[in-house]
């Protein structure tokens, strides 16, 4: 069953078409990837899914519900969470605060009862803290609980950003270049990390990635984007041997 369906989506900025008539169906419980050369429109596609941009044409469906043009916070509430290409943590706050903030969207207390520390608000806060500690523990980040986010090593920051996205209780996780800036051993680690969280939290993962090793290793399906067009889709092997993909990455020999 498909959890996310991108239906004939076109995104134009002024005269520039960043994404052209894109059709993607991400299957529930899978790890799928969107690849393509720089400027192919991958992040734009993510921004359309998460509501940062409203597409010029076409629709996005999540669990068969049309979510086109809804604001990013509402989309997150529905169960899609994301990370960013250039890591956007709440830098000056602690690791724990970063996670707690991601729980705020599910809060039932209003600001008055929260401020006045009403019993039901206190209970909610306590549960939120317990849940967050458990999450940190599962991801081996509990030891860093009180560290300021920007003081973490790069790899841990990436991990924290994923943890923060998980804390929103997402079913679909969008990872924008999770391995960017990582060395090969860190990338290997990330690959098993992604596998583990998918199984542990019963997630669907859709990611943009440049590291071909990572993509080829863990993706069950790959979509290739070039100049805003989907040029190929399939398993790692199918895509690897696709003539148009090879051309897109290596450039076409121009004899004529």
């Amino acid at each position: 069953m498909s959890i996310l369906k991108i239906n004939n989506v076109t995104m134009q900025f002024g005269g520039v078409t960043a994404v052209n008539n894109l059709n993607i169906e991400v299957q529930e419980g899978k790890i799928e990837a969107l690849i393509g050369p720089n400027g192919a429109g991958k992040t734009t596609a993510f921004n359309v899914i998460t509501g940062v941009y409203s597409p010029t044409k076409g629709n996005v469906y999540y669990k068969d519900e049309n979510i086109t043009g809804i604001t990013p916070d509402k989309i997150t509430k529905k169960g899609i969470a994301r990370t960013f290409q250039n890591i956007r943590l709440f830098k000056n706050l602690t690791v724990f605060d970063n996670i707690l903030i991601a729980n705020h969207l599910r809060i039932n207390s209003n600001f008055v009862s929260s401020t006045l520390r009403m019993p039901w608000s206190n209970k909610e806060e306590r549960l939120m803290r317990e849940k967050s500690e458990m999450l940190l523990d599962k991801l081996d980040l509990l030891r860093l609980k009180n560290e300021i986010a920007h003081s973490l090593p790069y790899g841990e920051q990436r991990k924290l950003e994923i943890a923060r996205a998980l804390a929103t209780d997402a079913d679909l996780l969008l990872l924008d270049e999770p391995a960017a800036g990582m060395n090969p051993s860190e990338t290997m680690e990330l690959s098993s990390f992604i596998h583990n969280i998918r199984d542990e939290f019963k997630l669907t993962i859709f990611m943009i990635e440049h590291h071909m090793d990572l993509v080829m290793e863990i993706s069950e399906k790959i979509y290739v984007l070039d100049f805003g067009q989907l040029i190929a889709e399939g398993t790692a092997n199918e895509v690897k041997n696709d003539q148009r993909v090879i051309e897109a990455y290596l450039g076409v020999e121009e004899d004529a």
Binding site: F13, G14, T43, N47, V52, F84
Partner: protein, 297 residues
């Protein structure tokens, strides 16, 4: 309402609008390059008016020399402002730079109050500007008459600089993308200084024409015109000099028309500009001539 009075007020509106336009260009250019509301711009304008008072009353310079001196001194003040209050904060958070801008504005106002006292000073009577000319049934001062033309000529000069010169090209590049322009080897500091030179020079011209129209110089005289001219710049589309002039015209005209047709609301004259600001930002945040910018995520 007689048609003469209407014409008279129309002329007043255009003239006031062109004064706003002169200041608005300074706001729009600085915002375009630094993404900063130069809160102190109105106070530079105020200081220019004082400079004029001193050059003519104290130093007894002939008016044509005084004008040149005042423009030069005002430019020096504007560049000094940039070097001391803005340049050290170039990599600081946005809010710090804005606080610095407010601090600079407040400092100039307080300095003027301290040095020149809060008592209004008379602006020197430059005969050639304050002479009244009869145009049919209209009677206008030379200052009122020439202000729109001065503004349009200066706008032309600004457009020439930004579109046809090398430094102008650099300015446009910086306003499009600060970081990339820097990487391309553009001398950012020179570009920013030039911006402040142009803005301050226009503020000086504005102050001289303003003084001939409202001949009372006070430490807080730049506050309201300053705020209004920023609004004019937003109305026209921030970053766009032609837009700033257009916005200035509209604002000046609207103000005079409010006084003419709804005299009971004269007390709300200064409030109107802010109402216009809110309406513009809601209806067309990019202003009349502004370009749409998409934030990169």
């Amino acid at each position: 309402m007689t048609s003469e009075l209407l014409l008279q007020q129309l002329a007043n509106g255009i003239s006031l609008g062109s004064l706003y336009a002169l200041l608005a260009i300074g706001y729009t250019m600085v915002y375009g390059i630094l993404r900063l509301i130069n809160f102190a711009h109105g106070d530079i304008f105020m200081m220019a008016a004082y400079f004029m008072v001193f050059s003519i009353v104290t130093f007894r310079l002939p008016w044509y020399i005084a004008i040149v001196v005042v423009i030069i001194v005002t430019i020096a003040l504007g560049v000094l402002l940039e070097k001391t209050a803005y340049k050290p904060l170039r990599n600081a958070p946005r809010m710090s730079i804005m606080i610095s801008a407010i601090g600079a504005s407040f400092l100039l106002e307080n300095l003027a109050t301290y040095l020149f006292t809060g008592v209004p000073r008379g602006f020197p009577d430059i005969r050639i500007l304050t002479t009244t000319v009869e145009l049919g049934s209209l009677s206008l001062t030379v200052a009122t008459l020439i202000t729109p033309f001065v503004t349009l000529i200066l706008l032309y000069v600004v457009l020439f600089i930004t579109n046809k010169t090398k430094i102008g090209m650099a300015m446009r590049a910086v306003s499009k993308d600060f970081e990339t322009a820097k990487l391309m080897g553009i001398n950012i500091n020179q570009v920013i200084s030039t911006t402040f030179v142009i803005g301050s020079a226009l503020a000086a011209v504005g102050a001289i024409l303003w003084g001939s129209r409202y001949p009372s110089v006070m430490p807080l005289m730049g506050v309201m015109p300053g705020l209004k001219c920023f609004i004019a710049a937003v109305l026209g589309g921030i970053g766009n000099a032609t837009g700033a002039v257009l916005g200035g015209f509209i604002l000046g005209m609207a103000e005079i028309m409010l006084i003419t047709f709804l005299p009971s609301l004269t007390g709300y004259r200064d409030a109107m500009a802010f109402v216009i600001l809110i309406v513009v930002l809601l209806v067309k945040p990019t202003g009349l001539l502004g370009e749409k910018v998409t934030d990169k995520v």
